[in-house]
C-alpha cells in the first residue's frame, strides 16, 4: 500500500482530456493497494517484477521517443499510427473515409463502456493505466476501411501508458494490427477497447516484442453485438514480465469470436495470459487456441475462463491450450475455467504439455538434418501456425517470417 501511494504522490498532476479518469484511477489504486499472491489471478505472479515498474520513469509529453528507421514499410493503402503517451498520433494525418476521431460527448459516453461490459474496469492493471495515461486514440469506424497498423514503442527504462478505443459501427469491417515494441528495460501499460456493432467484422492482431528484459501489461476489452465477428491473434515474445488479458463479451448472441495466442518465453521470463470469454446471448461461438513455448527457466501461465450463463443457450465453444516445454527447468501452468449454467451448449476444452516429439525429430534427422536444426525447424513450424494468422502480413514484414532465435535452449 505504502509503495503504491509513494509512487502516486510523485506523479505529475492529472491533465488533459483524461484528467477525471486519472483522478479516479489513482484513487482506486490507493484503495486497492498492491496486488497480492493471495488473490487468485495473481497467485503465480512474480510480484517483484510488477513492483519494479514503479522504478521506471513515466513517459509523458516531455519525453522524447525517436522512431527507429528499421521498421518495415506499411502495406499499400494501410494506415500506420504511432501511439504513445507523448504526442498526438493523428497529428499531420488526413484520415481516410470511414475513419473519424471520437471526441467530446461521444468520447465521454464511449470511454470505459466496454471495460465495464467486460467486467474488467477495476482490475489493477486497468486502474494503473487509468491513473497515469494522458492520451487516448479514439476512432469511429464506418463501412469497410483501409487496414490500420498501430505501433507502440518504448525504450530507455520508460514506463509507457497507451490507450486505444475503437468504435466499429454496424456492418463495418476493420483489420487492425497492433505492434507493441520495447527495448532497454522499458515497460508498456496498454488498454484497448473495441466495440463491435451488429454484423460488424474485426480482424485484430497483436504482435508484442520485447528484447528479453522488458515488461508488458495489456488489457483488451472487446464487446460484440449480435452477429458480429471478432478474431484476435496475439503473439508475444521476449518479455521479462508480461500479463496479457483479453476479455471478450458477446452481448447479443449469434456472434463469433476466435482467439489465437502464442507466447514464447526464455531465460527467466514470466508471461501470463488471462483470457475471459463471456456469452450473454444465445448461439454464440468461440474458437480459442493458446500456444506457449517455454525454454530455459522461464514460466508461462495461461488462465482461460469461459462463462456461459443461462441465457446463452446453444453456445458452441472450444478452447485448446498447447504448451511446448523446451527445458526441464521451464514451467507451464495452464488452467481452463469453464462456468456453464446454460444446459444446451457445446463446450470443449483441452490442455497438452509436451516436449518436441521424438518421432518428428527422428524423421528430420533421418533426412540429414542435424538434431539442433531439426529442433529449431520444428519449433518454427509450431510458432508459424499462429504467426501466419496475424493480419497485415505481420509475420513476414516485422519478423521476416519467424520469431528471433537464440535465447532458447532446446
Amino acid at each position: 500500500m505504502a509503495m503504491t501511494e509513494a509512487w502516486l504522490t510523485q506523479l505529475p498532476d492529472p491533465t488533459g482530456a483524461l484528467e477525471p479518469v486519472q483522478r479516479r484511477g489513482r484513487l482506486a489504486l490507493t484503495e486497492q493497494g498492491f496486488p497480492s499472491r493471495r488473490q487468485e489471478s495473481w497467485r503465480l505472479t512474480d510480484l517483484k517484477r510488477l513492483e519494479a515498474l514503479f522504478q521506471l520513469s513515466l513517459a509523458n509529453d516531455s519525453s522524447h521517443v525517436s522512431i527507429p528507421d528499421s521498421w518495415p514499410t506499411v502495406p499499400e493503402q494501410a494506415l500506420r499510427l504511432v501511439v504513445n503517451n507523448t504526442n498526438d498520433p493523428l497529428a499531420g494525418f488526413d484520415l481516410p473515409e470511414g475513419i473519424s476521431i471520437l471526441e467530446g460527448v461521444e468520447l465521454e459516453q464511449a470511454l470505459g463502456h466496454t471495460l465495464s461490459r467486460c467486467q474488467c474496469a477495476s482490475e489493477w492493471p486497468v486502474e494503473l493505466n487509468h491513473g497515469v495515461n494522458q492520451q487516448i486514440l479514439a476512432l469511429r469506424i464506418r463501412g469497410k476501411v483501409p487496414p490500420i497498423e498501430l505501433v507502440t514503442f518504448a525504450t530507455d527504462a520508460m514506463f509507457m501508458p497507451t490507450r486505444v478505443l475503437l468504435l466499429v459501427e454496424e456492418k463495418a469491417e476493420l483489420e487492425v494490427l497492433q505492434v507493441v515494441i520495447a527495448k532497454g528495460h522499458a515497460a508498456h501499460s496498454h488498454l484497448l477497447e473495441i466495440h463491435l456493432g451488429q454484423e460488424s467484422k474485426v480482424q485484430h492482431g497483436l504482435l508484442a516484442l520485447g528484447e528479453g528484459k522488458e515488461s508488458l501489461l495489456a488489457n483488451m476489452a472487446i464487446e460484440q453485438e449480435v452477429r458480429s465477428h471478432y478474431s484476435m491473434v496475439a503473439v508475444s515474445h521476449g518479455w521479462s514480465f508480461g500479463r496479457l488479458e483479453p476479455n471478450v463479451v458477446q452481448v447479443g448472441g449469434q456472434a463469433s469470436s476466435s482467439i489465437h495466442g502464442l507466447s514464447v518465453t526464455a531465460a527467466d521470463q514470466q508471461f501470463a495470459v488471462h483470457s475471459t470469454m463471456r456469452f450473454e446471448g444465445p448461439e454464440g461461438t468461440l474458437d480459442q487456441v493458446q500456444k506457449t513455448v517455454a525454454a530455459d527457466r522461464s514460466h508461462s501461465i495461461f488462465n482461460g475462463a469461459i462463462q456461459v450463463p443461462r441465457q446463452a443457450q446453444r453456445t458452441n465453444a472450444s478452447q485448446l491450450s498447447r504448451s511446448l516445454l523446451l527445458s526441464g527447468r521451464a514451467r507451464v501452468d495452464a488452467k481452463p475455467e469453464l462456468q456453464i449454467v446454460a444446459d444446451d451448449v457445446r463446450c470443449t476444452h483441452g490442455a497438452t504439455v509436451s516436449q518436441l516429439q521424438e518421432d518428428q525429430l527422428f524423421y528430420l534427422r533421418s533426412r540429414g538434418i542435424t538434431e539442433s536444426s531439426a529442433a529449431s525447424l520444428l519449433l518454427r513450424g509450431y510458432c508459424k501456425e499462429v504467426l501466419d494468422l496475424l493480419p497485415l502480413d505481420a509475420a513476414s514484414r516485422w519478423l521476416d517470417g519467424a520469431l528471433p532465435e537464440g535465447e532458447t535452449n532446446p
Binding site: L364, R367, I369, A374, L378, Y382
Partner: protein, 262 residues
C-alpha cells in the same frame, strides 16, 4: 541384378537389438551388394521394422551386439543425420506429419545436406525448385504438395509418394523401404513401385520390407529373406515370395518350434 564382382555396400553381421530392454533382433545377418534388390518378408512382430529403424539410427533402439558396416565404415557409430548424408535412406512405414514446416523447405534442406556430403554444391531456392519439379515426375506427384506442411493432411498414398520423392532427391546408396506398399491402392502401388524401379541402379541397392507378394510383382527382388523371431530364417530367390504366398507362414512356426525358439 546379381553380379559376383559387385561392391559390398551394407554388411550386417549377427545383429542383436532391443527396445526398452526387450530383445527384438536376435542375430540378423544380411549382405547387400551394389545393384541388388533384397526383400525381407515376415509376419508382424518378426523384427522387420526394427531392422529398418536400427539401420537408420532411431534413438529408441539399442544395439546389444553384432555389427553393421557400410562402405567399410561402422554404421552404428554414426548419428541418423550422418547416415542419411552418407547415403542411407529409410522410407517410413508411417511418414511423420510436421505441421508448420513447408514440405518444399524440408526437401531443400535435406537435399542440400546430402549434396554437400557428395561434394556437390548446395542448390538455392530457384535451382532447387527446378530440380524438385523434375524429380516429382518419378512419382507423378502434384506440385501442390510442395506448398503444404510436411505430410500434413496427405492421404496414405500421397505420404508414400512423398517418401519416394525424398528418395529420388537424396539419391541414396542403400534405400530401405519399410512397408512402402501398405495403404496403397493398386494404381498408387504401381506408381510408387515404378519410382523405386527407376531409382534402382547398378551402383545402389534396395532393401524392401514387406508383408505381401503384391509389391514383389512390381519390383522383382534378387533375394527374398524370411524373417522370424528377430532373425533371417530362410533366404531364396524371387520364387520364395511366390511360395510364401501359396503356403503362408505356418512352416515358420514349425521350424522355430523344432529349433526350440517360438
Amino acid at each position: 541384378m546379381i553380379r559376383p564382382d559387385a561392391e559390398l555396400l551394407l554388411e550386417i553381421n549377427d545383429l542383436h537389438a532391443s527396445v526398452e530392454d526387450k530383445p527384438i533382433l536376435n542375430g540378423v545377418t544380411l549382405h547387400l551388394k551394389a545393384g541388388e534388390i533384397h526383400a525381407v518378408m515376415g509376419r508382424n512382430g518378426s523384427g522387420k521394422s526394427t531392422l529398418s529403424k536400427v539401420l537408420a539410427g532411431h534413438p529408441a533402439y539399442r544395439v546389444t551386439s553384432g555389427s553393421v558396416r557400410y562402405l567399410g565404415r561402422d554404421l552404428l557409430e554414426l548419428e541418423p543425420e550422418e547416415r542419411s548424408r552418407l547415403g542411407i535412406f529409410l522410407g517410413f512405414q508411417y511418414p511423420i506429419e510436421i505441421p508448420g514446416v513447408s514440405n518444399l523447405e524440408f526437401l531443400r534442406v535435406s537435399t542440400n545436406a546430402r549434396r554437400q556430403n557428395k561434394g556437390q554444391g548446395e542448390l538455392d531456392t530457384f535451382d532447387f525448385d527446378d530440380h524438385v519439379r523434375e524429380r516429382l515426375q518419378v512419382v507423378q506427384m502434384d506440385p501442390a504438395f510442395l506448398e503444404r506442411s510436411v505430410n500434413e493432411g496427405f492421404s496414405g498414398g500421397e505420404k508414400k509418394r512423398n517418401e519416394i520423392l525424398q528418395m529420388a532427391l537424396l539419391d541414396p546408396v542403400v534405400a530401405i523401404l519399410d512397408e512402402t506398399d501398405s495403404g496403397l491402392d493398386i494404381d498408387a502401388l504401381r506408381i510408387v513401385a515404378g519410382g523405386v524401379n527407376q531409382l534402382a541402379s547398378p551402383d545402389n541397392c534396395t532393401l524392401l520390407i514387406t508383408h505381401y507378394q503384391r509389391l514383389l510383382d512390381e519390383i522383382i527382388p534378387d533375394y527374398v529373406h524370411v524373417m522370424a523371431a528377430g532373425r533371417i530364417l530362410r533366404t531364396g530367390g524371387s520364387e520364395l515370395a511366390l511360395e510364401l504366398e501359396k503356403t503362408g507362414y505356418d512352416w515358420v512356426d514349425q521350424q522355430l518350434a523344432a529349433e526350440g525358439v517360438g
